[in-house]
C-alpha cells in the first residue's frame, strides 16, 4: 500500500475536503489554544506580511494521526533560541520577522535579494502533511503550508554548475538569544544536492496547521525535507546559494562522525547515541519501527541508486 499520494489539486476528491462544520470546529479550537500563546501566532505586526490563506489542502498527505498543534509548537530543536526543547517556545515570542529578506546567490542567472512576499507566490501554496523524524529518535506528523522548493529555485535559473544548494539561518544574537553562546558555529548551515532540492517532496514552508509559521518552528520560512532527519530542515532562512562544491553543514561540522551530509532517515544505519531502528512518535508511549527514508522510499530511493548509504550516511 502506498501511503503517500501526490495529487494535483484538481484531483481532489470529495472526501478530501474537510466538512465545513469540522473545519470551523478546528478553527475555534485553534483560537482557543492561541489565547495562551499571545503574540506568537496572532496577526501581529512582528510577523511577515505574507498572506497564507487560500492554499490547496492536503496536496500530499499521510494516513497517520497529526501531532497536536500544542506539542508541535512547544517541543522544538531550534538552538538559536536555546538548547532546551521548550526554550524556543519560551524565547522566540518576540522574534520580529517583518521585513524579512532572503539573499539568493551563486551559480544562477538571476541572483537577488528578495522580500518574503516576492519570494513566495501565494498561488503556489500547498498543504502537505509529512512525517518529521528527528535524529534523536522522536517523530511527529505535521501539516505544513509552503511551496515546492523546485518551484522557488527555478525562478533564479540555476546554471549547469549548480550542483548543490546551500542555506543559511539568520545570525542576530540580539533577536536570537541562543546565539549569544557559541554552542554551534553560527550561522546554522544546511545543504542539499541539487536533485534533492528539486525533488517534488522538498518544501519551503511558510506555515503550518493552517497558520503562518510560528516563530519557534522557523518563521518566516524554513526548509522541510521529509525523508531526512529533522536537522536538515533548516529554519528562518536568510540565504540560499547555488554552489558547485558540497556546502558545509552545521551538524556535520560539529561532529562529522555522527552527522553526515545526507542524513537520510535510515533504520539500518546506527547512530552512536540513538538507535535509528525505532522512534517515539510524540503522543505514544512505546517506540515504533522507523521506516526507510521515513516512509518516502518509493519517492526518493532512486536519488541514491548505487550509493553505499552506510558510507554516505
Amino acid at each position: 500500500m502506498r501511503v503517500i499520494k501526490i495529487r494535483k489539486a484538481s484531483d481532489c476528491r470529495e472526501q478530501d475536503v474537510t466538512p465545513e462544520a469540522i473545519y470551523r470546529q478546528r478553527r475555534a479550537f485553534m483560537k482557543g489554544s492561541m489565547l495562551g500563546a499571545g503574540l506568537l501566532l496572532g496577526s501581529s505586526p512582528l510577523q511577515a506580511a505574507l498572506n497564507i490563506t487560500g492554499y490547496r489542502e492536503k496536496v500530499v498527505t499521510v494516513d497517520e494521526e497529526i501531532t497536536p498543534f500544542k506539542d508541535a509548537t512547544r517541543y522544538n530543536n531550534f538552538y538559536e533560541f536555546g538548547t532546551g526543547k521548550s526554550d524556543p517556545a519560551r524565547n522566540a515570542g518576540e522574534f520580529d520577522t517583518s521585513d524579512w529578506k532572503v539573499t539568493v546567490s551563486g551559480e544562477c542567472a538571476k541572483p537577488g535579494v528578495l522580500s518574503l512576499e516576492d519570494l513566495i507566490d501565494n498561488k503556489d501554496l500547498e498543504e502537505r502533511i509529512y512525517r518529521l523524524r528527528c535524529v534523536e529518535a522522536w517523530s511527529m506528523v505535521i501539516p505544513w503550508i509552503g511551496v515546492p522548493l523546485a518551484t522557488l529555485l527555478k525562478r533564479f535559473e540555476p546554471t549547469s554548475k549548480a550542483k548543490y544548494v546551500a542555506f543559511r539561518t539568520l545570525v542576530d544574537p540580539e533577536r536570537m538569544p541562543g546565539q549569544k553562546r557559541a554552542v554551534l558555529d553560527w550561522p546554522y548551515r544546511e545543504g542539499l544536492r541539487i536533485d534533492e532540492a528539486m525533488h517534488p517532496l522538498t518544501l519551503i514552508a511558510v506555515g503550518m496547521y493552517g497558520k503562518p509559521m510560528p516563530n519557534q518552528n522557523g518563521a518566516p520560512l524554513r526548509l522541510v525535507v521529509p525523508w531526512k532527519y529533522g536537522f536538515k530542515s533548516i529554519k528562518s532562512i536568510v540565504a540560499i546559494e547555488f554552489t558547485e562544491q558540497q556546502p558545509q553543514t552545521t551538524w556535520n561540522m560539529q561532529n562529522p562522525r555522527e552527522y553526515g551530509f545526507y542524513s537520510n532517515v535510515n533504520p539500518k544505519v546506527s547512530h552512536p547515541r540513538w538507535s535509528q531502528a525505532r522512534e517515539r512518535r510524540i503522543g505514544e508511549f512505546f517506540k515504533r519501527k522507523t521506516l526507510m527514508f521515513n516512509g518516502y522510499e518509493d519517492e526518493v530511493a532512486s536519488l541514491y541508486a548505487g550509493m553505499d548509504l552506510k558510507k554516505y550516511f
Partner: protein
Amino acid sequence: MKPWIKPLFFLLCLSPMGWIVGNALWGDLGANPVETVTFQTGDWALRLLLLTLALSPLRRITGWSGWIRLRRMAGLFVYFYASSHFLIWFLADHALDPVSMWDDVTERPYIALGFSAWLLLAPLAITSTNGWIRRLGRRWKLLHRLVYPILALAVLHYLWLVKADYLLAGIHATLAALLLLWRVPGFGSLRSAWRVQPG
C-alpha cells in the same frame, strides 16, 4: 540531631518523584513525557549522588556531625532514582525486551556507562543495613568505595550523551571533580583549613 530532620530530609529527597507523579496524574509532563521522566530521574540520581558525597565535606566545613547520619538515606535515594531511570528506559524504550535492551547497552558506550553505574549501585544499596555493616566489618568500607567509580561512570554517561550544549553536564562534572579531589590524600591541608575551629 533533632527528630524532625530525618523525616524532612526524606520528604525533600522524595519531592522530585512527587513532582513527576503529580504531573503525570494531574498535570503535564510536556510533549515527550517519557523523555521528561527519563531526564528527571537521571538528573536526580546524579544530583543526590553528588549530595551524598558532599555530606562528609559538609561535616568538615560546618562541624555538624548530623550530615553523616543523612548519608544512608541519601544513598538509598540515589538507588531509587537510578532504578526509576533504568526502569522507564527498559519499559518505554525497550518494551521490557531484554535482548533489545542489551543491544542498546552493547552498541552505545554512554548507555553501557550508565548501565554499569546502576549495576554497581545494587551491592551498595543491599549492604546499607546495620546488619551488613557489622557482618562485613572493614570490608564494608572497601566495598563502599565503589561510590567513586560509580560517580565517574555517571558523569561520563551524562557528558557523552550531550549533543552540543555542555553547560549543565559540565556543572555536574565540575562538582563531581571537586568532591573527588577533596578525597585525594594530598589535599589534607586544604581540608583542615576548612575545618571550623572549636570556639
